[in-house]
Subunit: 157 residues, 2 copies
């Protein structure tokens, strides 16, 4: 059985890589290095900041759903980011119970800088790949990640 046509050998390598990537030391190092120097942002609050930038001004509950994080955790981390001057809380005009979270100008700048740092690192690695391969890789990784996360959503819903 040839290696190039045997899917299970590749699957094992992908499983090992995912294991290494999700290992605490790797994550902490990756995001810790990335966010060091930005007040209020670390590996735990980064998803809130990044998610808010992606989905735009929203309520805490909707943001929590969007980033796959608990409501209570989201609101607590939002407080930290607010104290650091990166996000604002304003009453939702459509619902007096709700609060709309939004990035401040400083928050926008922080997100832009953090994303640029991460993306430039990846882009540097991917620049050496054959033309078109980066786009294919990105698509495969996106779909694989969705499948892995989806399995969980199926279970709890």
């Amino acid at each position: 059985m040839s290696e190039t046509t045997n899917g299970s050998a590749s699957a094992a390598r992908v499983a090992a890589a995912i294991g290494a990537l999700t290992l605490r030391a790797t994550r902490a190092g990756l995001y810790g290095r990335l966010t060091s120097g930005v007040e209020g942002v670390d590996a735990t609050t980064y998803p809130v900041l990044s998610g808010l930038a992606r989905v735009g001004p929203v309520t805490a509950t909707k943001l929590a759903d969007a980033i796959g994080m608990d409501r209570t955790v989201t609101t607590r981390y939002a407080t930290r980011l607010q104290e650091a001057g990166l996000i604002t809380r304003r009453p939702d005009p459509a619902d007096a119970r709700a609060t709309r979270l939004a990035l401040t100008d400083e928050g926008e700048r922080a997100v832009t800088a953090l994303r640029a740092a991460m993306e430039s690192f990846l882009a540097e690695e991917m620049a050496t790949w054959p033309p078109g391969e980066a786009a294919t890789f990105a698509m495969r990784l996106e779909r694989l990640t969705e499948s892995l996360a989806q399995g969980e959503a199926d279970r709890s819903g």
Copy 2:
């Protein structure tokens, strides 16, 4: 500027996928589902069990280095796995200070089953890809993961 030849667009998508993959909810769901039903194994102890299977019988310190985990955490999780009957501790014949960790037969079976579950899921997804693409993807992901983890190793060493 075309999308297919612009590396930064792909880099942004890869960055987002890595963010989703390393998110706590995704990790917890993925490994929690995987290890449920195996006594003593969860998302935190799995790296110890899996790492021991990969590098073979070793001392706790060497295993800790191999899996990028703290010595104190490794020995504590090893105790849990030992209590569950999955690993054994034996004196190292070459160094009276050291202890050799090794999988029991039950531990071997647990690792085999857990890996098979993870790999079969990935293999199923990858089976639909064009021939050869799985191997390329595995190689790219391996190298990218190494680079991301390496950046951290460079920093602390």
